[in-house]
């Protein structure tokens, strides 16, 4: 695999046009709304690691949430290194047409949420999207994480990559 097969970090934003930007955000929203699961990429002990997770985003897409048991490898890595990526894609919908496959790689930082209002907010968010995870999220050994989505890299048509950096409040 050549390096340019990967989403390229630092690709400059396209010349801004409000319309194109809105279309990009709309595409990202649609993809995220349509795909309930993502691949969470973690790192630590000089080793990258990937795990499938159920996730939910906040309304403005600048942050999101996922949960994991505290006994897992990904939990240990997340505690060690908060920098994460989340890959959301629809490849399962187009098994024979790669050009229609769409993905978004979200990069950012994840923080473990202690009991309190913020945890309750994100827990409700995750359960609203994944009602069957209610008891999982409530379990004493489940850690809930909130991640800041610093950058979205949206890929269509095999290699067409566009970047969106969500505006941050304050």
């Amino acid at each position: 695999m050549k390096s340019h097969d990967e989403p390229l970090l630092g690709v400059p934003d396209e010349p801004t046009s409000a319309t194109r930007s809105e279309a990009l955000v709309t595409s990202i929203r649609r993809l995220v709304a349509g795909e309930a699961y993502a691949v969470l990429c973690t790192q630590g002990e000089r080793q990258p690691y990937g795990s499938i997770v159920a996730y939910a985003f906040g309304d403005d897409l600048s942050s999101g949430t996922f949960a994991t048991p505290i006994t897992t490898r990904k939990f240990r890595l997340l505690v060690e290194c908060p920098q994460v990526a989340l890959v959301v894609d629809n490849r399962a919908r187009f098994p024979d047409d790669m050009m229609r496959v769409e993905s978004v790689t979200v990069t950012g930082r994840a923080a473990h949420l202690a009991p309190g209002p913020e945890r309750e907010f994100w827990a409700a968010r995750l359960i609203t999207r994944h009602p069957y995870l209610e008891s999982f999220v409530a379990a004493a050994t489940t850690a809930l994480f909130c991640f800041d989505a610093v950058r979205f890299l949206h890929v269509v048509g095999f290699q067409e990559v566009r970047q969106w950096i969500p505006p941050r409040a304050g």
């Binding site: 048991p69 006994t71 004493a140 050994t141 489940t142």
Partner: protein, 763 residues
């Protein structure tokens, strides 16, 4: 036709053509109504409403999660019941979509003014000539008020996922995921007599006979088998009574008059004929009579359901109603358990060594017959009574609506089961050893020698122990525990015949200061607030508050039955185990005699299967006792291949807590003595021979699943994490492997998570 917004329709509009929309029961009642037959008025909450409810509440995902946990065939009844309980709780907790609730409310306004209503299932494809779900789905009768009806509709919907319904669908090869449920809500019509009737006798369909059964009071008393009915067999064409059998009912005194007059029988028969000419098949009819007014409650095709081989009958038998539970409680607690206990003591007291060979042969055969008889009783009466605790769970969950569907288990805390008493007695022995340091080294040495020896080894050792300070008292207590609690079998071995196994456990328990301190409990504080478990008294108050004063007596009765059922569920297993142990004792004596005379190899396998061979050999000196040598179980997978293996196993979170430690597989009786404090007990199931090991364990992992099985009960009583229902637990986990047991989530992590292999780059 746009069905999407038709959440509720009048029952008279329900047709066969729309059976997928209204279910079979509603479609047939609609046909009867349209034909002008007397059927209680009602409405049908359609499958569209069900779909909308399930989708809006996210219940489909929950159903997939529950049913996808493991292959259906790999699940025991207990696990399926647990799934059904969790789904039922989820259904009850989920709000009805506003427009569906509004539609039901509006429909009820035109139906009844605070009259009692019956809310019944009408599943799609529920009843046809090939199958009948009668009794498997729920009905709620006597419901008053809109709010109660909305609750009852969810209860009925949830019953699509009841254990009995799931098992029956599996039996029929139906995909439960494609099942859908409509609900019929009807006015309850009073009945001084009620019953069922068959257009043709289901036992002899070729004969030109109809059958009518009648009971005093409502039809539910007949359907759930609590009242024995009067029964008529009639000539279909003429209505002539061919046979009448009065029901056996306690309330009757003096000569029994038939419950139905000739005129009333004719009315039922006319209804059968009327329905048959309307629908084209001989019906299975439920009816009620108030004064002389006949009301038809439902009609379905006659199926093989009356056949005793129908699995539905077995599922229904395992779900006793309150009246049957009362009868079972009286019989099990009042007669059977005391008789079983007495039988065990009687057999234990019998001096078999003094019997001649003929007497011993007779004793062996009598004991084998006793074991068989009690196993039948166990299957037919103890197991159904064990379901009493489920009745309690249902009452509690329906009334209290707890977040945790197993909160009711707290009501059972502190019940003094034999297993608890045994654990206390073993703990007391360990405390004795701690108090007498001089005992410890000598017991350790003796235990080492005894582990592979039999009781004879113990006889030689006891004198030595009695010479040490505290030894006499210890021997006395130890032998008392062996006699009272260890007269059980495990893998065709009597625990009582291997005192070294118990002694090893006692010494291990004595080596840890308090039962819980040995376990390496992991800290999950900070991840969720620790909520102290409410006491049994608090939960009882919660239940009584929720049901309200009118139902206090009922709730207290169900609570008492549930507690009794819970306690006896464990005790009966141990007491039947004693009978098996006593059979093995007699067989061992016979085997010893045969060995002395050279008619049996010393390594022969002496199991209950040896009864006929040994009895014959005892009776005739010419007979050689030809018994196989024991199978040496191959214990594969002590260590799994490094390149392939499980890293994380899932099961059911059966005891909350998080702990880690080294795995110890208990595959057979010889493993009992190897168990060390702080290890994770991994086994197929906690057998009656094992509960005294559990206090030593950091956690329990079992293949057998269920929240209410022995292992889960004991682990929760001791506050030890337990994950059960882990497929092939013993074969998957190797002895000595590091495990993390998450009893909150039902996850067992195998091995230490690291990237050593990746770092070494040895690929």
């Amino acid at each position: 036709m746009d069905t999407a917004a038709r959440w509720v329709i009048p029952l008279a509009d329900a047709t066969d053509e729309e059976e997928r929309f209204v279910g079979s029961k509603a479609a047939r009642l609609g046909a009867l109504l349209r034909a002008g037959l007397r059927v209680p008025s009602g409405v049908c909450v359609t499958t569209a409403a069900y779909d909308r409810f399930v989708d809006d509440a996210g219940l489909r995902g929950k159903i997939h999660m529950e049913l996808g946990r493991k292959p259906f065939e790999a699940m025991r009844w207990e696990e399926i019941w647990d799934e059904a309980l969790r789904l039922r709780s989820a259904f009850l907790a989920a709000p009805l979509p506003a427009e569906v609730a509004t539609a039901i409310r509006t429909a009820l306004a035109g139906l009844a003014d605070d009259e009692p209503l019956a809310v019944r299932s009408s599943a799609v494809g529920e009843d046809n000539a090939g199958r009948s779900f009668a009794g498997l789905h729920e009905s709620v009768v006597g419901v008053r008020g809109v709010s109660a009806v909305l609750d009852a509709v969810r209860v009925v919907w949830a019953s699509l996922w009841s254990d009995a319904a799931l098992l029956y669908r599996h039996e029929l090869g139906l995909d439960p995921m494609s099942s859908r449920m409509a609900v019929v809500v009807q006015v309850v019509v009073g009945a001084d007599r009620a019953g069922v009737a068959f257009g043709r006798d289901p036992r002899t369909p070729a004969a030109d006979h109809a059958v009518v059964e009648a009971v005093p009071g409502p039809c539910s008393d007949l359907v759930d088998g609590t009242v024995d009915p009067d029964r008529w067999i009639l000539a279909r064409a003429t209505g002539r009574v061919l046979e009448w059998r009065p029901g056996e009912r306690q309330e009757t005194t003096g000569a029994r008059m038939p419950l139905l007059t000739r005129r009333e029988l004719d009315a039922v028969l006319a209804a059968l004929h009327g329905i048959e000419s309307l629908v084209g098949w001989a019906p299975d009819l439920e009816w009620g009579l108030q004064s002389d007014q006949l009301t038809l409650l439902q009609a379905r095709p006659i199926t093989a359901a009356a056949d005793a081989s129908d699995p539905r009958a077995q599922y229904l038998r395992l779900r006793p109603g309150l009246r049957r539970l009362r009868r079972l409680a009286a019989r099990v607690a009042g007669e059977l358990i005391p008789a079983l206990d007495a039988e065990g003591h009687r057999l234990a007291a019998e001096d078999l060594d003094r019997l001649d060979d003929e007497g011993l042969a007779h004793a062996i055969e009598a004991r084998a017959a006793t074991v068989l008889r009690w196993k039948d009783i166990y299957r037919d009466e103890f197991i159904p009574f064990a379901h009493g605790v489920r009745q309690l769970g249902r009452l509690y969950n329906d009334a209290v609506r707890p977040v945790d569907p197993y909160e009711f288990v707290g009501l059972l805390r502190g019940e003094h089961m034999i297993a608890s008493r045994r654990n206390a007695a073993v703990a007391a022995l360990a405390a004795d050893v701690r108090r007498q340091p001089a005992l410890h080294p000598i017991l350790r040495r003796i235990a080492g020698g005894l582990v592979s020896a039999h009781a004879s080894g113990w006889s030689a050792s006891r004198d030595e122990i009695q010479h040490v300070d505290g030894g006499r008292e210890f021997v006395c207590s130890f032998e008392s525990v062996i006699r009272d609690f260890m007269d059980v079998t495990y893998g065709s071995e009597r625990l009582a015949a291997h005192p070294g196994w118990l002694l090893s456990t006692v010494l291990e328990l004595a080596s840890v200061p308090t039962p819980a301190d040995h376990a390496q409990f992991d800290d999950c504080a900070g991840f969720a607030a620790a909520i102290p478990a409410p006491s049994a008294h608090d939960l009882e108050c919660r239940l009584l508050d929720a049901v309200g004063p009118v139902r206090h007596d009922e709730a207290r009765e169900i609570l008492a039955l549930g507690r009794l059922s819970w306690r006896l569920r464990d005790d009966d297993t141990l007491l039947v185990g004693r009978l098996e142990s006593q059979l093995l004792r007699a067989l061992a004596i016979a085997a010893a005699r045969m060995c002395i005379t050279g008619r049996l190899r010393a390594d022969a396998s002496v199991t209950p299967a040896a009864v006929p061979v040994l009895a014959a050999a005892l009776r005739s000196a010419d007979v050689i006792a030809d018994l196989p040598t024991p199978d040496r179980p191959a214990h594969p997978a002590s260590h799994r291949a490094a390149e392939e293996g499980s890293r994380q196993l899932t099961g059911q979170p059966a005891g909350p807590g998080l702990a880690s430690g080294l795995a110890r597989n208990i595959r057979g009786p010889a493993d009992l003595a190897l168990f060390r404090a702080g290890e994770i007990l991994v086994c197929d199931a906690i057998q009656p021979a094992m509960p005294h090991l559990v206090p030593l364990a950091a956690a329990v992992v079992e293949r057998r699943g269920g929240m209410l099985i022995h292992g889960a009960i004991i682990a929760r009583e001791l506050g030890i994490p337990c994950v059960n229902g882990v497929a092939d637990a013993v074969d998957t986990v190797a002895n000595g492997e590091f495990l993390i047991v998450d009893g909150y989530l039902g996850i067992v992590t195998v091995g230490t998570p690291d990237f050593d292999l990746e770092r070494r780059g040895s690929f």
